[in-house]
Structures are given as C-alpha cells and as structure tokens.
Amino acid sequence: MSDVLTFGIPTLDGLFGAARGIEVSPANNNSATTTSVCLVGPTGVGKSIMALHFAAQYARRRNADAKQAHVWYASTDLGFDKANAIWRAFALGDRGRAPTPFEDSPRPLEKSQSFNLVPTVPEPGAATEVELLINQKSKDVIFLDLNASTTGDLWDYLYRILVALEPEKADHPNLLVIDAVEGLEVLAGELDVFGERRTRRSRITQLLRTARDHTHVLLVEEVSRRSRGSSPEQYLADTVVRLRRRLSSHGYSRRTLEILKARAQSHVRGEHAFVIRDGKGSPPTGSGYADDPQHFTLAIKTNDTSQAGKPQAYGSFE
C-alpha cells in the first residue's frame, strides 16, 4: 500500500488528485521508498510556513501510528523564535488543532501524543545534544538551527546527520526539511570542507542519494520573482510546488501556488490563489476552517522564554 504525504492543508492536498497528497509508491524490496519535495518561491511568500506544516503533519501521522521516525527541520534563515511563533500560531503541535476532514486518521492526537518544536544547535568539537537527539526516539520535530552556529561545511554536516539518522531497520522513513538550500550554498561556497570544487547539482544529488533509502527530503528553495529557469533542486525533486506573489494593477498582492511537477501522479495544473490567515484560529462552531486551531479566547502572546517549544494554542484544552 502506498504512503501519502500531506501538508495538512486540505485544499492544497486536494490538488494532488485522488491520493489527496504526495503519493509514495511502495518499494519492491524491504527498504523504505522515499520521495523528495521542493518548495520554490520568492522571499516572503510563505515557503517556511508550508514547510513547517509539512513537517508537523508528518510528525502527527508518525505519532498517531506509533512509528519510530525522525523529523528534522534544518534552517539556515528562519530562527527558532520565529519558527516557534509560526508553530504556535497554527497550533502545529496538534494541541487544539481541529481534525482534518478526509484524512486517514481524523482523530485528534491524545495529549501524550502531541509534540513540540525542539531547538538544537550544532556545536562541533563538544558534546552536544544533537547526538542525544539522534539516539533517542523523539516524538517532537527537531529544529536544527544552522544560523546559530556553523560547522564549516553545512552540506557535509547534513550528509552526516542524514546517515546518522538512518535507522538500523527501515521501520518508517524519516523526514528532513532544509530551509533554505541557498543558506547552505552561501555558507559553504563552491569548495567543500576537503577543498573539492563541488557544484550545487552534485551536492543535491549526493543529498538525495544519501537519503534515498530512509528519509524523505523537503527542500525549500528561494528564488527571485523573475526567476524562470529550473534549478538543480527542481530538476531532481519528485514534486515541485512553486509559490508566487502576484501584484495586481490595484496594488493588491496575491499569493498563488502551482504544482510544477508531481512525478507519476496526477495533479491539478495551474496557479491557485491561497491566503495565509492571521493564525488566530477559528471558533469551534460556525464557519471556521478545518485546518485552523480552535479558539475560545483571544490570543495572548507572551514573552516567557521558558515556554519556548511548547505549543501555545489559542484556546485552552488543558
């Protein structure tokens, strides 16, 4: 039976045809079959929000099915504070999140199954919690903040993270989100840590080949608004979703989304407008959105850093 990866946004998942998500064909052998997704778009169009949705949805399904798999979000441009704000605004940790219609497991997670965005920083040369997080079976989404520290060659570091995350038995594929690929390129330059001149195509190829048997990869690529060419990420990924921002003649900015490619899968072509709501949620009754968090009270933002990583649902389900 094929697996389906979803964003947790019903209208977006519906663009992928009857599968209602990115379909992953079963492998012929015992190894897991993985896929690669590329989110392309100019800055400020919502790529990171969608990538966080994708990661959270994957973690949610993993926890619901009690599978052992890692979900890592490696960020080169989005800091943890901002990412966690998004996480809380959309209740991505599933606490307070309304069940998604037409989903295989529409039930909300139990309280013990809810999960957080957990930050970690690579610190070469010292004992870090990265190794601890690799070894333990975490139910959370690990946020690897590559902005906070550098390991020299981030590509090489991610390769090593990938192979270290590989399970001894392919129970359930891991998920690695790289946001954004340009950040890796800037930090590493054209030479790798061994002085070898490497093209971006070569590095992406090695990344996908390293992840092939055990990890899904979501690549976030930032391109200019006028960019039309196909980057190595778009060329190699199985699924490419392009986000755009259109300016109308009245100065109104409108976000659109287009599935450029979905290999071996039917999908709805063309540009589709989408809106990123304010994240305050929908009321539990009435005309709310299915993928919105339910709220009973107004949102109260706090500066309490001790609550970092914990979902701050708009509404109380304690």
């Binding site: 040369g125 690799i134 090593r160 270290a164 070569s202």
Partner: protein, 519 residues
C-alpha cells in the same frame, strides 16, 4: 657430481655460462676467456677489492670449493645449492670489478625427512647452512643458481643461512637483493624457472623464492601435501589475536579483529589491493594489521588447490613481531620452526635486509607472495612504491599514522600526486580497505573503535565524483555501504566485549560524535 648435475647454462644474460665445479669453471673461463680473466684483471686495479678476494680466478691462491650433498632418496631430496659469481655490468664491460662471492665450507644440514612431507616442505627445510662472502662493491644483484631434482610447476621458498661471515663483513657490504633467473633441472628434463633470493631474518638468511618450470609443466590444483589442506588447517600463530575474556579494563583487540575481518575484505571476492590501517602510535594498528593478514593467510591456505605454501613477505623497520607458531616461545624463529605452520615467511627489515621499500616491493613481485605486510609507511616515496605494488593484483597490508580516516586517505592521494578525478579513481581502485583506529577511554575502560572505508560497487565512483565528501560513515554494514562508521562498530564491539554499561553508552555517544564531525 658433474655426472648427476650437468653444467648449468643460463638461458641468456651476461654471465654466459656457469658450472658447478671449480674445475669446470676454470675450463670455461679459459674457453671463452671472459669472466674470470676479466674479473682478475679488473680486481687487480683495486687493491682493497683484491684483498677481499678469497679464492676464485687465477689471482687467488685458494680455490673455491663448492660442496653439495644429496638429501634423502631420489628423486625428491636432492638439493644442490651453488652461489654463483658474477661481474657487474659484465655485459657492457663497464663498472666495478667482478663479484667476490665465494662459498667456503658449504654444508647442508639435513632435517629428519619423516617429519615433513611434500615437495615444498622438503625444499624449504633443507636449509643450506654455510658461509658466503660477499663484496661491498655496490652490486645490486647476485647470481644464484639452484639445481635440484624437483618436478616442474612448483613454487616454493628455500631458506639459506648465511652464517657468521655476514656480521664479519658488515651489513653495508651485503647486497640489497639477489635477483636472477634460475635454471632448474632434474635428471630427465631441464626446465627453466624464475626466482628471487633476498636477505631476510635480519640478514641471517637468504630467502630464495623459486617458481620452477614452464607453464605446460605446471601441475594444476595440486593439493599441498597430497591431502586436502582443509583437513590440516594452519595452527595459531603469533600474529593471531585471541579474545581474552578476563580482560575487563579494555576492549580486547581480538574482538576488533573479528569484526574487521567480517567487513574489510572485498565483497566481490577479489582481495587485491591495499588494506591500510591508520591510527596514532600505540593504537594497536600493527597488531590488528598483522592479525588481519594472518586471517587472510589462513583463508588462503584453506582453499586447498595450491601448489605451494602460503607466502607472506613483510617489510618493517624494525620487525616488531616475527610470525611463528603461537606455542613457540622463541621470539626469533628459524625457518625450521615455521615448517609446521605451513607458511612461507620472508621477514625483511629495512636497512638490514633491504635498503628501501621500493626494492622490497620489486623483489616481492618475484616471490609469489600471497600477502605483503609493510609496517609503517612514512614517506611519500614509500606510498608510491606501496601503491605501485598494490596495483599488481596482490594483497598488501600496511600501517601508517593519520588522525582520521579521511586524513589517511588524503595522505595517500597527496603522496600519489593526485590532481585530477581520474587519477583519484585510479588510486582508489588500488585500495581494498582503509581502517582508522581511535582509542576511546572512559573511566577505567578503554576501547579501540575503528571506522572503515572499503571498496565496493559504488565506493570508487562516488569517491571519484564527489571526493572525500562521499566518505560518510554509515550506521550499517550492507553490501552497498562504502564507509562503516565508528558508531556501528562501537555498538557491535562493546556488546560482544561485555563492556560496562556506562562505558558502553558513553563510548557509543563519543563514536557518534566522531562520525558527525568526520573524524
């Protein structure tokens, strides 16, 4: 004498003809007028050389006496050894005066033939114990001719003890190698063989490796001793590392060797190329490399269809551990002691037995080795010589110092002057495996944890295209895995080694950290 062993005529070369007896040599010299006459004439102009001449030629007062002895019943046990006399550059007529190798009081020690069986053991154990004088004229080669009654088609090694005169004449006066084409003959048919004699056992012996006979005479699939070799496996040697369950303070190297033995060899079954063990000093790399070599020799000996003993050549500076039967307490073995182990062993010490690694590698190509062990490759030139040999289809095991697996591989590439991807691929194809050992101490427990790069289907191609960035330590040991990380070894080794639980967790964590950092 002459009737049983007719004069040996070289198949071609500078020495023209050789005879067994002094009388024959004299007549031959007078017949063609060249070797001895030229020898004497050349030597006459060099006083210091002449003083060291002992007996050959008209300028000498003494006469060389070549002794030989029949060993055992015909046709198997007849061994006749004769150290020839040659002139350097006699073909061109230039260079130093002729050689001064002489043999005096040559005698053959016969060992009880009932203990040994088979051609190879006989040939090896009939060690000629005699004295030979050699010149210090800088001659790189000596002529050795052996006449023996053995059927063609065998490879074997004869150890010739050189005697005390070696010390008398000093190490520097000894030739580095003795390299020649042999002519072998039996009573019925003359066959031509190839071989090489080199100094070994710290100058105490000449190890003469002989391949006798033309291809059409070679026996096929001949068991070693007339019986299946697997029925008589090799005994334990001093190179084998056995696990010591009583040792609670450190991970036993026997476990490491067992684990490496399951992972370093080629998955395709062609164990040719270089197996290099890197590490810092006192990391156990030499012990582990020797133990892996012993495993390989045992594997080769068990194959059965062989026409000689397994042969290992070592090049070290100095010899750290002689290969000998484990129950043999003598640290300096004689070839006779190794007879029971069914291993032909040629230990060569740099500076004493052989001058450079290059010479040793060149000699090894004539010694039919199953494995060559080089202890501590230090210079770029040595690396080039080692890898030149590794590309000849033999197994070469070497040790060297490096701080990490990738650093060791870079050291190799740098020494090989690799500048292009194609050259990197050519060097990578000569690598069988690269092992790096690191010591992980935790409180009162210490473990040597390896990481391995090995040649597999995709290893070379990814190394060519992606460079050392493709050396990613994996946490599994499947056929398609080129690099096995320390984390995998730590988990398997510490479980097998019964490490304390706290040490096990800490060392596993440290091993994972090393994998992430590429160390």
């Amino acid at each position: 004498m002459g009737a049983h062993f007719p004069a040996i005529v070289r198949a071609g070369g500078w020495a023209a003809r050789r005879t067994i007896s002094t009388a024959a040599r004299t007549s031959q010299s007078s017949a063609n007028g060249s070797p001895s006459t030229r020898t004497a004439a050349s030597a006459a102009g060099h006083g210091k050389w002449r003083r060291r001449q002992c007996c050959a030629g008209p300028a000498c007062r003494k006469k060389a006496r070549i002794g030989w002895t029949r060993l055992g019943p015909e046709p198997y046990n007849s061994l006749k050894s004769w150290f020839g006399v040659g002139e350097k550059n006699a073909r061109s007529g230039r260079g130093q005066p002729a050689n001064l190798v002489r043999h005096r009081n040559l005698r053959v020690r016969t060992l009880p033939p009932t203990i040994y069986s088979g051609w190879h053991a006989m040939a090896r154990l009939h060690a000629v114990q005699g004295a030979c004088r050699v010149t210090r004229g800088g001659m790189a080669s000596r002529r050795i001719q052996l006449t023996y009654n053995l059927p063609a088609g065998d490879d074997f090694t004869v150890y010739v003890r050189t005697g005390d005169l070696m010390q008398q004449w000093g190490v520097r006066s000894l030739p580095a190698t003795i390299d020649d084409v042999f002519e072998t003959a039996d009573a019925h048919q003359r066959v031509v063989g190839r071989g090489l004699a080199c100094r070994c056992y710290r100058g105490g012996y000449y190890s003469i490796s002989i391949r006798a006979g033309e291809a059409r005479h070679r026996s096929k699939n001949k068991p070693l001793t007339g019986e299946s070799a697997t029925d008589n496996p090799l005994p334990d040697t001093s190179w084998d590392l056995a696990a010591d369950p009583k040792n609670k303070s450190r991970l036993d190297l026997g476990h490491v060797v067992t684990s490496l033995n399951d992972t370093v060899w080629s998955l395709e079954g062609h164990n040719d190329g270089a197996l290099i063990v890197f590490g810092r000093t006192n990391s156990g790399k030499s012990k582990i490399a020797r133990a892996l070599t012993a495993k390989y020799l045992r594997h080769e000996a068990s194959r059965g269809a062989r026409n000689r003993n397994v042969h290992v050549v070592t090049v070290e500076d100095p010899v750290e551990e002689f290969l000998r039967p484990r129950d043999q307490k003598d640290s300096h073995p004689t070839p006779e002691l190794l007879a029971t182990s069914r291993i032909d062993y040629t230990p060569r010490e740099l500076g004493r037995d052989v001058r450079t690694v290059r010479n040793a590698m060149r000699d090894a190509l004539r010694q039919t080795p199953d494995a060559v062990y080089v202890g501590e490759v230090r210079s770029d030139r040595d690396w080039r010589d080692v890898f030149h040999f590794a590309g000849t289809g033999h197994l070469l095991v070497a040790t060297a110092h490096a701080s990490s697996l990738v650093e060791g591989m870079r050291q190799v590439m740098r020494a090989m002057r690799v500048t292009t991807k194609a050259e990197r691929g050519a060097v990578a194809r000569r690598l069988l495996s690269v092992v790096h050992l690191r010591r992980f101490p935790h409180e009162n427990y210490t473990a040597q944890i390896p990481t391995v790069w090995r040649r597999c289907a995709a290893a070379v191609s990814t190394l060519v295209t992606e460079g050392f960035g493709s050396v990613l330590p994996m946490n599994r040991n499947d056929e398609d895995v080129a690099c096995i990380g320390r984390r995998w070894y730590a988990r398997s080794l510490l479980t097998a080694g019964n490490a304390p639980e706290n040490a096990k967790n800490a060392i596993e964590q440290a091993a994972l950290r090393e994998d992430l950092q590429g160390l």
